[in-house]
Point group: C2
Chain length 473, copies 2
């Protein structure tokens, strides 16, 4: 059944073949169905599906549709149909898609939701974005600690179907405080007369409604949890977060870090779903900031204009050197930012890291310097690049062509050596410093790193050149 | 109990306080214990824990220890103790840590493992790295399709404890073929006399032993699976992968992509656990490749030496322009690489993406050009940067200072405008092209992008300058 596609579905809809459609809905996973249905151009086709295929099948499909299709569909359905549809949706899913709907559609949705569900959704809508509260669901299963295993299983059978998960059960006492948790597997392994109080796990790992969602995902990964309870400030259980939601968060946060390293502000939706103007405005601010930071490079270059005028060939190596420093520094920054992001590196490890990076840098610088010197000599010898050496010779008139080449290559090589060491030490220091002052290393480190390294590179280069080549300005 | 630390544990070991230690082992999650125990310097302390605290508690701790501690501990334990320890370890965990052990330790470990477990581990060790086979576990629960719910629950109670998960149950027929799967929750909701054949889910999503682990994680995320069955080439069930392992894979792959964007080859362990020499050798090759690619920039610069000699002030803007192009291109590349990585962008979307990016680029280029022109005038006017304009004036002798400034700013601005458009179109094209020829976009795109953009930038810059400033070389 895997070769289902939009055409097949469209054909069955046109033929009014509800039976075959139901059959497909049973066999094909909702996410695959959604991929097809997202391509249906006429919203009437989608309405047909939601009207005539049983709602127990279409509920899951709705959850997987893309936002714009959800909105179109809501507008096309009658109040009664909308109410039926919403009844089967998980509260956290409703909250998710409501957040991006226009106000008039939101109020229509809320009007057609059962009263107690509406209250829960309203509560969820009030939590700040990116907190545990905003991604949790209120449909969890809570059992009294005085229940025995048999009573617990009976309760689960009665009310478990409407819950987000029954793999993890939360145990409360009479005062409605969370006192333990229990895996469904442990319930199966226990004797039917065992009291939950005696078999439950008493050290429950929890998060607060205001905990950052990234922190929640990290905690769930660290402790291999299928679901984590969310407590309010009074330490009462108000919701749970399941592993599939944590997975989405992890992916979103990884994307965010990744994208920020490319100097784009995080985009909420996918590239294809984000508008042109929004994409441009996520990119432009960084380009301007980076351009303005470039003033420092210009400053140094204009200060060394006289040296460059004396020996124009020096210009040729500026991009090479700036790139080498930038790349070396960026390598280190990248490793540290990722380490900080997944919590494997702590700010307190700073000195350990610098000492390690110093040795790494020394080794890298040495190898790169040897490679650079050899490469430059090859480059000059076979003449891939046409260095205007006549002027060089005029300036360095005491030297022959060969020696002049050697000295220039040496100046470049020494710069690379010193530069790589500086760049790598700075590359590990900057993100840790940024983290220390509670800013986001992925966002801040790289542009400033590049600017600082550019400046350092140019200064080292000019000082070395003047010294080695005895240039008197 | 959260404030447990290495000192507390060390103290209790020194006091031989086994009772209190057992208490801690019951209450503190293994991963937190492992963090403490990793810091115990004397391996004898760790041996004490594994010798005197019950093995049902220490088994989980062992799984969470870092690799070097595992190795030390294995060397310090007697054969009998090692056998007891290994008995409680999941096969996939044993495979994981065995892969990085020295050969003599591996053979000692395998010698002390029960025979059938050894066979399974050996089989796992034979799968290629990064495939489903290499991360799966053989400890899954399989039920016959003719069982009824009661028989199923009895079987689970009998043998389920040794299995990796019982949340997803796999159903086979008499020919040992996988015919369905069933969530433990559905088993609970079913009637005790229902036959598994009738209540199981018949469309099972599976992967092959050779499927790439990244693909496995993506599939599990797409279908919200807690466990996925792994089939061999004969379509027989040979193992399962659980969601916690998929989560680790997702994080590793996200790290890999992230780190590659910083031009570091992927490192297997964390930064702190990777040796200095290894780190250096993960960095150096890229630095050398990037340096060699730099030859093209040098080539262009040396070709335009005469123009630069005529108007040295042009040099001052080279880094600014190269950075602007590089940054703009990188922004686009980053978005596309991430989109490709999470499967949201397909190669077939190419023309849609180019058209979108062209409009984004146009908008970005326009805004940046306006910002650049204004900024350059401000820079020149308040004299933050000291541009040697006298020479400029000599070259452009027909113009006054103000007009000369204006013309230079104009040349730079036009370059930025054209450059940003080129860079962004190239930025989306290159990763898609790299993906098309089946290479890794995260690895290949960025260095070549930078090189190509550097070249384009310089050519545009010099051509524009010569034209606008009427420089005759």
């Amino acid at each position: 059944m895997k070769n289902i596609n939009t055409e097949t579905i469209k054909k069955l809809i046109d033929e009014n073949n509800v039976k075959e459609l139901r059959d497909i809905f049973i066999k094909v996973p909702p996410i695959d169905l959604a991929d097809c249905c997202n391509e249906l151009e006429d919203i009437k086709d989608l309405v047909f599906l939601f009207r005539y295929v049983k709602s127990e099948y279409t509920a899951d499909l709705f959850a997987e549709l893309k936002q714009e299709k959800k909105e179109e569909l809501i507008n096309a359905l009658s109040d009664g149909e909308l109410a039926t549809l919403l009844l089967k949706q998980a509260n956290d899913d409703v909250t998710d898609f409501i957040e991006e709907l226009p106000a008039n559609v939101v109020s229509r949705v809320l009007k057609n939701v059962q009263k107690d569900k509406r209250n829960q959704i309203n509560a969820l809508l009030n939590y700040k974005e990116h907190t545990a509260g905003s991604i949790m669901t209120t449909e969890y299963l809570e059992l009294l600690d005085t229940f025995n295993v048999d009573e617990a299983i009976q309760t689960i059978r009665k009310i478990g179907k409407e819950k987000e998960t029954i793999f993890t059960l939360f145990i409360r006492d009479k005062e409605r405080s969370l006192v333990g948790e229990l895996g469904l597997d442990d319930l199966i392994f226990a004797n039917s007369s065992d009291c939950l109080k005696d078999i439950m796990n008493k050290t429950v790992i929890t998060v607060n409604v205001n905990t950052d969602q990234e922190e929640v995902a990290k905690t769930m990964k660290r402790y291999d949890l299928h679901a984590i309870p969310v407590l309010n400030d009074d330490q009462k259980l108000v919701g749970i977060i399941t592993i599939d939601d944590a997975l989405d968060v992890m992916e979103d946060e990884a994307s965010e870090d990744f994208i920020q390293m490319g100097h784009v502000s995080p985009i909420e939706n996918s590239y294809l779903q984000t508008g042109v103007i929004k994409l441009a405005f996520k990119s432009v601010p960084w380009l301007i900031i980076l351009m303005v930071l470039g003033v420092f490079t210009s400053l140094i270059l204009s200060n060394f204009q006289d040296t460059l005028a004396l020996l124009p060939v020096l210009t040729v190596f500026i991009p090479l050197l700036m790139d080498a420093g930038g790349n070396a520094g960026n390598q280190s920054t990248t490793l540290i930012i990722r380490g900080l992001a997944i919590g494997e590196i702590k700010v307190k490890d700073y000195f350990k890291i610098v000492w390690k990076e110093f040795r790494v840098a020394l080794l890298c610088a040495l190898i790169l310097a040897i490679a650079c010197f050899s490469w430059l000599l090859i480059e000059m010898y076979i003449g891939i690049v046409n260095y205007p050496l006549e002027e060089t010779l005029a300036t360095l008139d005491s030297l022959g062509v060969f020696k002049a080449r050697l000295m220039i290559a040496l100046a470049v090589t020494i710069t690379i050596f010193v530069d790589v060491i500086f760049a790598k030490i700075l590359g590990v220091s900057l993100p840790i410093f940024v983290k220390l002052i509670k800013l986001d290393p992925a966002l801040i480190s790289s542009p400033f790193l590049t600017t600082i390294i550019d400046i350092i590179t140019l200064v080292i280069y000019f000082v070395t050149s003047v010294y080695i080549l005895h240039l008197v300005v």
